[in-house]
Symmetry: C2
Subunit: 254 residues, 2 copies
């Protein structure tokens, strides 16, 4: 494990031995003001493309630090291609969800407007920052992309043909086409090979409207699943669904 | 679905047709002051033993209501026997965890003191209230028991012979006896029939100490599992582990 005590930071710059990099903005502030790291201290850097690199702080200033990249300490690894589509929820739970989805390894996070979405405002920048922080801490090598808010109808109208949607249908219990996640993935794999592009779609707290449900269920790429007999909050359902997907179709398998 | 708009309350009293019950304390406050329900309004009641019952409010006062039980609307169902053992975490995340574990269907919640537990205070009453609230909202028919705080060493010294522990070992990656959850449950089922008494043990943020890990791994009832290649926070790990257990050994199966 790289580093429980070495700071780990995402930066959007190329990483190679000897590169001198200025860390300012959020990474600089975090490193110098929050973590209180000093000249000579090591720091782990990643950019989502080149793996993890050990760098050394060679100079610090107010909320900024100059570092020199010393060596590659972990190669970039492939990560599952799973989009997380969700109807935005209350602020505190939203941060929480982005953190969880990032730790659990989704590749893209996209807020979706639905008939019952309770949205006062959505700060994509804030979502991106939460995702970066979570990626830094959980030691994943990429930061999930954050795609802009989109209306559900627009999203579905233009849905890529080769990407499946695991639809967590809270009204699907008793529906004979709605399986538990493991069974659903098994069926898909049996019929379609082992498709590796997926998305997970979770509804808003009040559920999708009937018109929305009909639209979703009519899409051939949609795989409806149930998450057990109890009613889950949207955030619980998301974490459970992502963990199950990782376990049956992602990188948590044997 | 019973009731998106009818209030649903847990009460610790016997439920049968015609019973007149006084709801005061928390349930009375919630019903009258928070939900603002009035005479004639229906309310769903459950006590963890007798299923869901429809009752009618026949009188309200300050933070209290008299109700008459009208009819049984759902029979009690059996629930999985899964204990959730965790090292207490920061307050906000603790409430969150209790809510999540309840929604996901654990039967008992027990905080455990470990070498690295960061505990200032623990209010068991508060945990119990969070569990009741979550049970009311997710429409499960029981409220998980809340067992008192116990030291890990004491817990393990007296561990019941017939209950397995799914141990989420954050240092277990690469350990050849440490499988993903599905594989681990499969192995257990193959060797031991289908044991139905389980516990899930999640460590504190800093992980278990080496001495603790050794103690845990030495117990024959312990089944070590991994939760994928990324580092999960204790709360993420708990939700993921419970969802996976439900999916492989609990009531989320086909």
């Amino acid at each position: 494990m790289a580093t429980k005590h070495t700071a780990r930071l995402y930066i959007d710059q190329d990483l190679k031995v000897g590169a001198e990099l200025l860390l300012d903005g959020n990474p600089g502030h975090y490193l110098v003001n929050v973590m209180r790291r000093k000249m000579g201290d090591p720091v782990t850097l990643f950019n989502g493309r080149d793996g993890d690199w050990m760098a050394e702080i060679v100079k610090t200033g107010k909320g900024r630090a100059m570092v020199v990249v010393r060596q590659n300490i972990a190669a970039q690894v492939a990560e599952p291609d799973l989009w997380y589509l969700f109807a935005p929820i209350k602020k505190a739970r939203l941060d929480y969800m982005v953190e969880k989805a990032t730790e659990l390894g989704v590749s893209l996070i996209r807020p979706v407007l639905t008939d019952r979405t309770n949205l006062d405002r959505l700060k994509e920048d804030k979502i991106r920052l939460s995702a970066i922080e979570a990626a830094e801490q959980c030691e994943r090598m990429t930061v999930p992309q954050v795609a802009p808010l989109i209306k559900l109808t627009d999203l579905l109208a233009d849905w890529p043909e080769d990407r499946l949607i695991m639809f967590c249908d809270e009204d699907g219990a008793g529906d004979q086409n709605c399986y538990p996640v493991g069974r659903a993935v098994e069926e898909v794999n049996a019929w379609q090979g082992r498709p590796d592009k997926w998305a997970i779609l979770i509804g808003p707290e009040g559920g999708f409207s009937d018109a929305e449900r009909a639209l979703i269920r009519a899409l051939p790429q949609v795989v409806p699943v149930t998450l057990g007999p109890r009613i889950l909050r949207a955030d619980t359902a998301a974490i459970a669904a992502i963990a199950l997907w990782q376990s049956f179709a992602g990188d948590w398998q044997t």
